[in-house]
């Protein structure tokens, strides 16, 4: 008796799906929908005035469980200013092959500079290309 009931229930599911629209997205012709809390490639944010938010505190690198981030600081000068205050990131690199998209870096960042964005197409032809530098990560100006 119980076995028959189980079978009918299974068939019911099958029948229901028969009349549903397919969920498969025809990527890449069709773009998938990205949800707001999706964790994709890192983006280094800017302030409204265009200056970089990152101050090279290195906390993201320290928090990262896989050692995917490398930051090197330097001092702003009057002639060359990258961020507010004295310190900016001369180098900021993320190794996409190491990153597990846990989001710790975003969570720990005191200035809200690093966020995991929506970009998910991260395949590269070489390992070296998978290490993104600051210029690739920075949000466009304006």
């Amino acid at each position: 008796m119980d076995a028959i009931f189980q079978m009918v229930r299974g068939l019911w599911v099958t029948c229901k799906r028969l009349v549903w629209r397919p969920v498969t997205v025809q990527y890449p012709e069709q773009r998938p929908q990205i949800y707001p809390r999706f964790r994709g490639r890192h983006v280094l944010g800017r302030h409204e005035d265009g200056l970089e938010k990152c101050v090279a505190c290195g906390l993201c690198a320290a928090a990262c469980p896989t050692g995917a981030i490398y930051v090197e600081g330097a001092e702003n000068t009057e002639a060359e200013r990258y961020s507010h205050g004295e310190r900016y990131a001369r180098l900021y690199q993320v190794n996409l092959l190491r990153c597990i998209f846990c989001g710790f870096c975003q969570e720990v960042c005191p200035t809200g500079a690093v966020t995991l964005g929506s970009e998910f197409e991260l395949a590269r032809y070489s390992r070296a290309d998978a290490i993104l530098c600051k210029e690739q990560l920075l949000a466009p100006k304006g």
Partner: protein
């Protein structure tokens, strides 16, 4: 200190020497009491109130840093009252503290951060606007101040007062507006300024060369030794990702006690200089071109092989330098002797240092110090601190020097003998001793000093007779007297007299020259007339032992010294030269002769970190060598302490450690004996076998470094001291040339260190105001100084520190070598000085 006191801290019985502070006693017992203003090497100040503890039978909380232990004292460090006080002090400190840890260099190594985390409140109750003060103030060439982060512990101020005795920093304004600053308009340019960065418990003072390069937790460090001057300060190298980023002082009471001078602290930048040699170079068609190691070593073997085949091994010479580590120097000695040549030396216009009989702690506690021909401030900076300390403790300082030194204000007596008469002054003191107490000198010495009566000495040296007598008395009268001679003493005759004076008075000798490792290099036997351990060549037992160790017959022929070498090379007797770390064209006393000689040489090979003028013009093969920070090796400091210099990073490009280069060259030349060494420590182990005095020296791998001191006596010369010869005078000018190193531009390494470039003055010549007036020279005007081999254009510095009738030109400033003027040991060079017309721009 021999008494000990037992007290109870947090219920634990602690026994400490009488006179200890409660804070220190607790630390010894492993109980932490937070403290900000207290520092082991500064006097207690009781300023921060963070260390308050409860002491039974004493009313109120007491500062642990300023309370001395008493027998039976009962201390509580963790009561509610104590905890409350800590929380309160920390909260108050944070009211105006910017809390910008993310951009602060101290984060991760900051007392305030640690204490707030451990003892403080998690949230602040102060929500008001914070007080704004100065940020990123450039106090001086090495230090940057953030006044907002300062907790006013005054460690920096007290360092200037207590250690430097130079109040360059002070607290200004009061209350919450108090701030640290230099005197208005002044620059914090002390030679020791960087030490306040180590002292600052927070991130208020930061190191200009290190600023923002890495976070504290990202750095890895190794205990090492500074290789830039003969003090050999114990320090820690720190770096990240193959870069050397910071140097800090390391506790070593026997040497630098944690302090560093700014040359050592900020001078490591040469590791990354773009001019570093990255590949071997081989000369082809007159040009040095990059080559592989194999090509370079083959070319070298061919070059030397041809010379040895044609003219025998004695046509080969080896020139080292006092910058080499003991391992490199030892292998060079071994290579030369194994090849069969005795032409090996490292002295370019200096004398090999005499044995060190005093330690640096002895210097700090000396009763009488005779500073002879040396300027610690420029030549061995830490010694300036120790001399000041000795004077502070009641010691008396006597200075014999051609210039007025910075230390002169601490001196009981200062003597400025006429240039060239310094040896006469020493002989005069010896003769005074003999006259005062006949028989006090060995018979064979008396001859050297006979005929030098006080009147004659006074008239020859121009020093006051009575003053000389006082100096003699002071030296004899004290059991803790030290004779410290410096880089101004360049000839072996004067050195022998100074050593004799030390022996006769019972004073102990301490000496240095301009080179960082002169003592070690001389110990390794890089001398034409000595074996490793400075044994004479005729010492059959020593020779036999070395032959056994080296598995090679030893050439025990005395060879040519670095002075005798050049004429022989010009005559074609010496045809091939191997140079390690030296730049004879710049450094040798007679540059013209050296250039002619090198032009006659058939083959010149060099190992160097930079392309020196000698390499550029004369070398056939240049091998790229590692620099300090990139290679392991031991260095023997001026007091005979051996320190182990560590490689924190790999050599740049294809450069190799210097000792390995020598071993590779030996293999390429098929020198007899085994030349396989796994690392520098293995070479050191062999040194310990070869030189009895170094027998106890070994690398303790657990600690990563070792500190040993060797003591041994050897005869400076086999002859008794000779009567001082009348100084040879050369040149036709009317001012006597004096010279010496300048701290921040002393050699090729300092010139390639961005952190110190610009701290040395523009190439100058100092001249007495009266001479200047006579010659029509004004301060800062360009002048021409013409000496034996040419003229230098320098900036005049009119200064009373320079004795009348003399002109002081720094030894090597901005690559202008004083040797162009003909400065050489034992000769008074008279130079011509004239103002240059300023071109109207």
């Amino acid at each position: 200190m021999d008494q000990s006191v037992t007290l109870k801290i947090d219920g634990r019985d602690v026994t400490v020497p009488a006179g200890t502070t409660v804070l220190e006693a607790a630390r010894m017992a492993g109980i932490e009491i937070p403290s900000l203003c207290n520092h082991a090497r500064l006097l207690p100040a009781g300023l921060c109130r963070l260390c308050l503890v409860e002491i039974e039978k004493v009313r109120g909380l007491q500062p642990a840093c300023a309370s001395i232990v008493r027998e039976g004292m009962v201390v509580h460090t963790d009561t509610p009252a104590v905890q409350h006080n800590r929380r309160m002090v920390l909260e108050l400190l944070c009211t105006n503290h910017p809390l910008d840890c993310p951009v602060c260099d101290a984060a991760g190594d900051c007392r305030l951060q640690d204490y707030v985390f451990r003892y403080g409140r998690t949230t602040s109750r102060f929500v008001e606007e914070k007080r704004r003060k100065g940020k990123a103030i450039r106090l001086g060439p090495a230090v940057i101040l953030d006044q907002e982060r300062c907790v006013l512990c005054q460690r920096c101020v007290r360092f200037c007062e207590e250690v430097l005795d130079d109040r360059q920093l002070a607290v200004f304004q009061r209350g919450a507006s108090s701030r640290i600053s230099t005197m208005p308009g002044a620059v914090f340019d002390s030679r020791f300024s960087g030490n306040v960065v180590d002292l600052c418990p927070v991130g208020a003072l930061t190191d200009r060369t290190f600023r923002f390069k890495a976070r504290n937790w990202e750095l890895t460090g190794l205990p090492s030794v500074c290789a830039l001057c003969p003090v050999g300060c114990r320090m820690t190298e720190e770096g990240r990702e193959g870069r050397l980023l910071r140097v800090r002082g390391r506790e070593a009471p026997e040497v630098n006690d944690g302090w560093l001078c700014d040359l050592g602290r900020t001078g490591y930048g040469f590791t990354e200089h773009p001019n570093r040699l990255r590949h071997p170079l081989v000369r082809r068609d007159g040009h040095l071109e990059p080559a592989s190691w194999d090509e370079a070593l083959t070319a070298l073997a061919r070059g030397f092989g041809a010379v040895i085949e044609k003219a025998g091994p004695r046509a080969v010479a080896v020139l080292g330098s006092p910058r080499l580590t003991n391992e490199t120097a030892y292998l060079l000695t071994r290579l030369a002797r194994a090849l069969g040549t005795g032409n090996v030396d490292y002295r370019l216009g200096t004398a090999a240092p005499a044995p060190a009989q005093a330690t640096l702690s002895d210097l700090r506690q000396a009763e009488v110090i005779l500073l002879f021909q040396g300027d610690p401030s420029e030549e061995a900076p830490i010694l300036e601190l120790w001399v000041k300390q000795a004077v502070k403790r009641g010691g008396r300082l006597y200075i014999v020097h051609p210039r007025t030194l910075a230390l002169e204000r601490y001196a009981t007596g200062a003597y400025r003998p006429r240039p060239g008469s310094e040896a006469v002054l020493i002989a005069g003191i010896l003769s005074m001793l003999e006259q005062g107490k006949p028989g006090s000198l060995p018979l064979e010495w008396r001859e050297a000093v006979s005929g030098l009566g006080p009147t004659q000495v006074a008239s020859l040296t121009g020093c006051d007779r009575e003053a000389i007598r006082l100096l003699a008395e002071a030296l004899v009268g004290s059991p803790r007297a030290i004779i410290a001679y410096g880089a101004g003493l360049r000839d072996e005759q004067t050195l022998a007299l100074v050593a004799a004076l030390a022996k006769a008075t019972g004073a102990r000798l301490l000496g240095w020259d301009g080179g960082p490792n002169s003592r070690g290099v001389a110990d390794m036997g890089l001398l034409p007339d000595r074996l490793p351990g400075r044994a004479p060549l005729a010492d059959a037992a020593a020779t036999a032992a070395l032959e056994r160790l080296w598995q090679a017959p030893l050439s025990c022929q005395p060879g040519l010294s670095a002075t005798e070498l050049w004429p022989e090379m010009r005559r074609g007797e010496v045809r091939a030269l191997y140079v390690a770390g030296a730049d004879p064209v710049t450094q040798a006393p007679n540059p013209q002769l050296v250039e002619e000689a090198l032009a006659h040489a058939t083959f010149v090979a060099m190992q160097e970190a930079f392309l020196t003028p000698t390499a550029e013009r004369f070398a056939h093969v240049v091998l790229p060598a590692a620099v300090p920070g990139e290679e392991d090796g031991s260095l023997t400091n001026l007091a005979g302490g051996v320190g182990w210099q560590r490689a924190l990073i790999a050599p740049l490009g294809e450069a190799r450690p210097s000792w390995r280069i020598v071993a590779d060259v030996a293999k390429a030349l098929a020198a007899p004996g085994a030349w396989e060494y796994a690392d520098a420590a293995q070479v050191l182990a062999e040194i310990a076998q070869a030189i009895p005095a170094y027998a106890g020296v070994e690398v303790v791998t657990t600690g990563g470094y070792f500190d040993a001191r060797y003591e041994y006596e050897y005869a400076l010369t086999d002859q008794p001291p000779a009567a001082p010869a009348p100084a040879r005078v050369a040149g036709t000018g009317d001012l006597a040339l004096t010279t010496g190193p300048v701290l921040f531009d002393r050699d090729i390494m300092a010139r390639h260190a961005p952190g110190v470039v610009g701290r040395a003055a523009e190439a100058f010549a100092a001249i007495h105001p009266e001479d200047a007036e006579r010659l029509g020279i004004t301060d800062g005007a360009p002048i021409e100084v013409r000496g034996l081999f040419g003229a230098l254009t320098l900036k005049a510095r009119v200064s009373g520190a320079c004795a009348q009738g003399t002109v002081f030109v720094p030894e090597e400033l901005s690559e202008l070598s004083v040797n162009r003027l003909g400065a050489q040991p034992g000769v008074v060079v008279m130079v011509e000085v004239k103002p240059l017309a300023v071109r109207p721009d």
